[in-house]
């Protein structure tokens, strides 16, 4: 009965949260991520197997489609909702310690900016890749990042901006983070950014899409 994990992978990718959700129309009335996750656990798959072999895989597939232009924001958000519906069943095992997350990523839209859909998409992908995400929301100051870093000293920081007038605020925040915690890795992203800008402000990583961010994070785990 391996195919339940395959089914779960598909419903996560397609964004089918539960049986009652009307989206996507062609899967109407069928089991969604909620039901299939519960069933998989009941069948004896370990939470880690369900996470890695179905949920992470499903999110990876939608991330690939997004990068290639085959899927867009609505499909990503629906997939993330399906992921969240499945995670309800997995989360208790994080707390008990039987499933390990890869690490913690603190994320926020930079101070002065309140556009946070882009940041949310990246946060969902990172969470979907098996990381704990601490989402600080929008208009995030250095002080808020610092407070989160004090709680999670080993965390990686991700910052986003949508406007050319606000992306400049990333520079000061990155510098201050590096000053108090030189080892902290800072990732940046957002529509007006570029690799040049990332290098210029002293951040460690830039990706034009969410998939690049999860791949970078996974490479960090492997090299550690």
């Amino acid at each position: 009965m391996v195919d339940i994990l395959e089914k779960l992978t598909i419903v996560v990718k397609r964004g089918k949260a539960d049986k009652n959700s009307p989206y996507p129309p062609d899967l109407k009335g069928q089991d969604g991520a909620d039901e299939l996750t519960a069933e998989a656990l009941k069948m004896g798959f370990t939470p880690d197997e369900v996470l890695q072999k179905a949920l992470v895989k499903g999110m990876h597939l939608i991330g690939e489609d997004f990068s290639a232009g085959r899927a867009f924001v609505p499909e990503m958000l629906m997939a993330a909702k399906a992921m969240k519906a499945a995670m309800k069943h997995i989360e208790p095992f994080f707390k008990s310690g039987s499933v390990k997350q890869k690490g913690t990523v603190i994320m926020g839209t930079v101070q002065g900016d309140l556009h946070d859909i882009g940041k949310n998409l990246v946060a969902m992908m990172i969470e979907g890749a098996g990381w704990k995400v601490v989402d600080l929301g929008s208009d995030t100051s250095f002080e808020k990042f610092l407070a989160a870093l004090e709680e999670y000293p080993d965390a990686i920081v991700g910052m986003s901006a949508l406007l050319t007038t606000t992306m400049v605020n990333m520079k000061g925040i990155t510098e201050k983070i590096k000053e108090v915690s030189p080892k902290t890795i800072v990732m940046v992203g957002g529509a007006p950014l570029s690799q040049d800008f990332c290098t210029q402000i002293g951040a460690d990583f830039y990706s034009p899409d969410p998939q690049g961010a999860t791949e970078y994070l996974d490479a960090l785990v492997k090299s550690a």
């Binding site: 085959r70 867009f72 309140l114 929008s138 208009d139």
Partner: protein, 497 residues
């Protein structure tokens, strides 16, 4: 046989050289002529009188003229093509045509007034005889600030982060003075009683020399967004000292006095039934309300409607594909100026997506089917997958903005009497297709293309004592859409076709 002809436009004294077969609509649009019925040939709002030469017309055109009780010296610009050298008088400048095709009732006054629409991209001004209400002169220009960025955010960036505010203010004031001087000179050196200027918040701050720093970041407040008065001397104008120059106040955040003027033009603040005004530009401003309460918001619609960020996008000028239609299996395109296609403008983009949704080439998620990832429209012009994504963001933002404001006021879609569409390309768009792609989800007979409501409202305010403007300011509240907790879900839903 000549392949180019000269079109003389009266009372403007303008001369334009265009290729044979150019639609008159394309020629007149840039001079602020409105097409109230959207070019269907039923309202007569764009009528022109043939003073010299000829514009050929067919049976259908003849019967449209008969229905409108116009003799055969008239033509409907929206139905006409340039077929030879011709001198035309623009009928519309005799009266202001409002959205419902009724002329604006004004109180005749002594003297002359100037209405000035200061746009991010284009500047247009009209000289009005306040006694007769006639437009007796018009000037248009490209905003010289455009060299420092195409959209308002890049202007703010140049002003605030690159210390360019003084440069931008100087550039726009110099161009303003040049245009006003030309208007006055052509009218024989008259002295205007007043000049009313409208523009978005960034244009307001740059023209008036107000600090743009608060507009650079959240919460995007406008403490200095009030009305600004100038003497001619302050702006370097060589005109009579008594001329009062006023830049009308902004409504809040990115919603400026161009929208204030638009509200005036629609009569929203006096209407019992709720109305919607949508300006389809870079900022995608939205206004919903009636005489009790008005809400406004701007959406980060992005410049897709104006052709920016679209791979082969361009403004609605010569060489742009401005409409796409399908008959049987053939796809037909209309190219402005009847020349070889160089790109596609916003209205063409909307049509193209509507047509390819219908053929199944694009699915409801916006994906182009097949491996090529592009759709060819002509041998030169094609659409990319990213173009469709840009349009989804833009239309999703506008549709979400309308929905959130309407729901905040507690109105159902059926409560809305009319949806007024303004903005540079508003006059060209196909309403059925606008609905098909989910940009404006209202029946076509409720949607009215109003053209440049900013200029119209500015002209109307030349006759006002300020009471109506104060009434609008008092009733209107600015709403920040991103702070709505459901924004993300509403936005995502509205991105789907």
């Amino acid at each position: 046989m000549k392949d180019h002809f000269t079109v003389h436009l009266e009372p403007l004294g303008k001369k334009v050289e265009v290729p044979e077969g150019t639609p008159l609509k394309d020629v007149l649009f840039s001079y602020g002529v409105e097409f109230p019925c959207g070019g269907k040939g039923i309202c007569g709002g764009c009528r022109v009188k043939v003073l010299k030469g000829d514009v050929s017309f067919d049976e259908r055109h003849r019967s449209l003229l008969e229905k409108l009780n116009l003799d055969f010296s008239w033509r409907l610009a929206c139905q006409s093509y340039v077929t030879g050298d011709v001198t035309l008088e623009i009928g519309q400048f005799d009266t202001f045509i409002l959205a419902d095709s009724s002329p604006f009732l004004f109180k005749p006054q002594e003297g002359y007034g100037i209405a000035f629409d200061l746009g991010t991209t284009t500047m247009v001004t009209q000289l009005v005889n306040l006694k007769t209400g006639k437009v007796i002169g018009v000037e248009t220009a490209v905003n010289p600030q455009a060299q420092h960025g195409a959209d308002v955010i890049s202007r703010i960036e140049y002003a605030v982060l690159q210390d360019g505010q003084a440069t931008l203010t100087r550039l726009v004031r110099e161009k303003f003075a040049t245009m006003i001087h030309r208007l006055i000179r052509k009218a024989g050196g008259i002295a205007p009683e007043k000049i009313v200027v409208v523009g978005n918040t960034v244009m307001h701050h740059l023209f008036c020399g107000r600090d743009l720093t608060p507009m650079a970041s959240y919460p995007f407040e406008t403490p200095e967004g009030g009305a600004c008065h100038f003497t001619p001397e302050e702006l370097g104008l060589k005109t009579d000292d008594h001329t009062d120059i006023e830049f009308l106040p902004v409504l809040g955040s990115f919603v400026g006095s161009d929208i204030l003027a638009g509200i005036l033009a629609t009569g929203m603040a006096e209407s019992k039934d709720p109305l919607i005004l949508v300006d389809l530009g870079t900022n995608g401003e939205i206004v919903v309300g009636n005489r009790d309460r008005i809400l406004c918001a701007s959406t980060a619609a992005g410049p897709a409607f104006e052709g920016t960020n679209i791979h082969m996008g361009m403004r609605a000028t010569t060489g742009a594909i401005s409409s796409v239609t399908r008959s049987e299996e053939a796809i037909r395109v209309h190219i402005i100026g009847n020349e070889k296609a160089r790109g596609i403008c916003g209205s063409g983009l909307i049509d193209a997506i509507a047509v390819f949704l219908e053929t199944g080439k694009i699915d409801i998620g916006g994906r182009i089917k097949g491996e090529s990832g592009r759709i060819d429209l002509t041998p030169e012009v094609f659409l990319t997958q990213k173009d469709i994504r840009e349009l989804q963001l833009a239309k999703g933002a506008v549709a979400s903005g309308i929905q959130i404001l309407r729901e905040t006021l507690g109105f159902a879609p059926e409560d809305i009497r009319n949806v007024y569409v303004s903005g540079a390309f508003g006059s060209f768009i196909n309403l059925e297709n606008t609905r098909r792609i989910g940009l404006l989800k209202y029946p076509a007979d409720k949607i009215i293309k109003m053209g440049n409501t900013a200029l119209l409202g500015a002209k109307m305010s030349l006759f006002e004592n300020g009471d109506k403007i104060r009434d609008i300011l008092q009733k209107t509240i600015h709403l920040s859409l991103e702070t709505n907790p459901d924004f993300q879900d509403i936005f995502a839903e509205n991105m789907i076709f």
